[in-house]
């Protein structure tokens, strides 16, 4: 993940426990992270440096996260913001989005999802797919015009839904996708099912993609999600 080396990220989170592991995993993912525990420090950081992306918790000790975002916007910070919220009502989320935040995550969240959303905000993940009508991952090839997938030249017999699922995995090849990411991106819903509905879809897809004698591409990471190998 070398392309992140220049990405500067400002993390505004007052809980040290959360700040600690976030900083660690964001650094592991290649971001240069500055962290602030309150709005005042965050404003000082933002005044001194230019950040590519900000991660802001809504419950700060000295001010409301939304007020902080508004203040940052007024002072000329136009970088995308990922809001972390421990509140659960939709109103707050919508309010956050309306007031200049670009995406939100409700605590607790999966790190993989945080990273995916950051990539989304930075438009990195779309680079390969912007104008493509075809997508290749190893020997897997997706044709978006014919809505057809093939592996090593052999057409896979996928349902439309399985095609969308495989497409999403391919677009995030090499990165972890979580169940809730799949649910919201492929099925358009933010539910958290009690049952293993998503897993069954993946098993079925895997049965068609990773047939016997071929190298398995779709890997399950227990407790985290799935990843499609890209090399």
């Amino acid at each position: 993940m070398t392309y992140h080396h220049s990405m500067r990220l400002l993390l505004v989170e007052d809980e040290l426990e959360i700040q600690g592991f976030l900083k660690q995993s964001l650094s592991d993912a290649g971001y240069k992270v500055d962290s602030a525990r309150d709005g005042k420090t965050a404003l000082q950081f933002a005044a001194g440096k230019r950040y590519d992306v900000l991660v802001v918790d809504l419950g700060l000790p000295d001010q409301d996260g939304i007020d902080l975002i508004l203040q940052l916007r007024r002072s000329g910070v136009s970088s995308p913001v990922l809001i972390l919220s421990a509140r659960r009502s939709v109103d707050d989320r919508v309010k956050g989005l309306e007031q200049g935040g670009d995406d939100y995550l409700t605590k607790p969240f999966a790190l993989a999802e945080l990273l995916a959303r950051l990539r989304n905000l930075l438009r990195r993940n779309l680079a390969a797919s912007e104008d493509a009508t075809r997508l290749r991952v190893l020997d897997l090839e997706l044709d978006f015009i014919k809505r057809r997938a093939s592996r090593a030249g052999e057409v896979l017999n996928l349902s439309p839904q399985e095609f969308v699922l495989l497409e999403y995995l391919c677009r995030h090849a090499g990165r972890v996708v979580t169940r809730s990411m799949l649910l919201s991106e492929v099925w358009g819903t933010r539910i958290q099912p009690d049952t293993n509905v998503v897993d069954v879809h993946i098993y079925r897809l895997r049965g068609k993609v990773d047939t016997e004698g071929r190298e398995p591409l779709i890997k399950t990471l227990r407790g985290i999600g799935y990843v499609l190998k890209d090399g």
Partner: protein, 489 residues
Amino acid sequence: MSSKTANPVMHSAAWRISLWATLAFAIGTMIAFAMLHRFVANDIQRRSDAWLSGEVEVLGDVAARTPKDRLYGRVVGEVAELASKEVPNKLRSDGDANDSVFFLQVGDDGALKLWVGAGDGTPNLAAIRESKVIPDVPYDLRVKGFKKPFRVVSLRIEDGSHIYLGLSERDEMRVLKSLRVRLLSLWALIVLFGFAIVFYATRRMLGYVREITEAASRIGQSDLSTRVPTNKRNDEIGHLALTLNRMLDRIESSVHQLHTITDSLAHDLRSPLTAIRGKLEIALSSDVKVEQSEPIGSAIDELDRLTEFLNSSLDVAEAKADALKLSRTEVDLDHLVRSMIDLYEPCMSDKGLRVQMHSAGSLTVLADAALLHRVIANLLDNELKHLPASCNVWINLGTSGNTATLTVEDDGPGFAPEIVSHMFEQRVKGIDSKGHGLGLAFVEAVVRAHGGSVTGSNRPGGGAQLSIHWPREQPKKVVTPHSFALVNR
């Protein structure tokens, strides 16, 4: 008048109050007018009687003093004629003919001696003879040929003859009749006017009550922050509005308090959950052995379940307290249910369950899309968890009137008998159930928050049946398009 075409005004309380008030008012004024009429009638009678007594005395005097010569008849006749011109309440309607007064003198022998008046006096004399005469006291006399009775006074003069002076009650009655007509029309006018005033006033008063009712029902449906209108006056209705508003203040503050409690509870639990989950994830992604990664992964799964349980608990608590925040948008139930079935179908068929959906096509309701997703997911999760292999699930979507009905049926073991009557309560679950007992409570709470209802029962042929009845208002205008956009991001 049928109830359908009847003016709604006639069914209003203002109308009934006005009718009763007017009835009481009409009876009261009628009694007052009747007494007035009686008083006037007595007064007129008294005046006529006074006049009659006075005149008959004068005439008796004249008759006694006038010598009984040839001129006697003319002199007494002139005087009587003159007196008749001064009749009280006289109306000159029927020309000059004097039919309102008669003078009659009867001798000892009972023969007619002198007659002044209309006609020849025979019927009058006959009538006098038939009636019992009380001297000096006026009495009523009915005479053949006259429609109206006469008031008659008699006097015995010294020569033994009787003189009678009669005054027709025609004029008196005419006066009284015109008085009655006037009083009646005045009464009708007063009653009508009174009705109009009472109706206007009560309608105005009750108009405030109606405004308060409408505002209160609006508040009940949606926004707790608005208040019923208060008028400035310090009357009962003003008090009603103030009391309602004070009550709303209290309800709003309790709801606000509930939000604060649930929010802070959520916050206090979420922060450690986030930290734990994050650390577990980092531990998992660093190079650990397979046998170590398994328990960490399952710990994360358990954490996610705990989070979901926390969310549902708070949602159910808020929904039960009618404090669930809804952002309603137009949602196509048919499309939503189909996409959820698409999501669940592989999992179900893996378990050997068959799902069939029957629907008449697109069916739009006004609902919180995110919550509705979770309602359907809960129902399908429920089927997945409780049905043994090779069962059928039938999902029916239809409308009747203003209600959309979603029915989920299966041919499994059905609800355990001990929970059928209270399956929508929190923590209620069958003995064998692996869930946390929130699924159906959540479904019911959300549907009720939207103004719908859920019924659950066991089918006669075996298996469970759940029906959701969803109100279909005419979509006004969508409130927040954002929440739906979020779901589809």
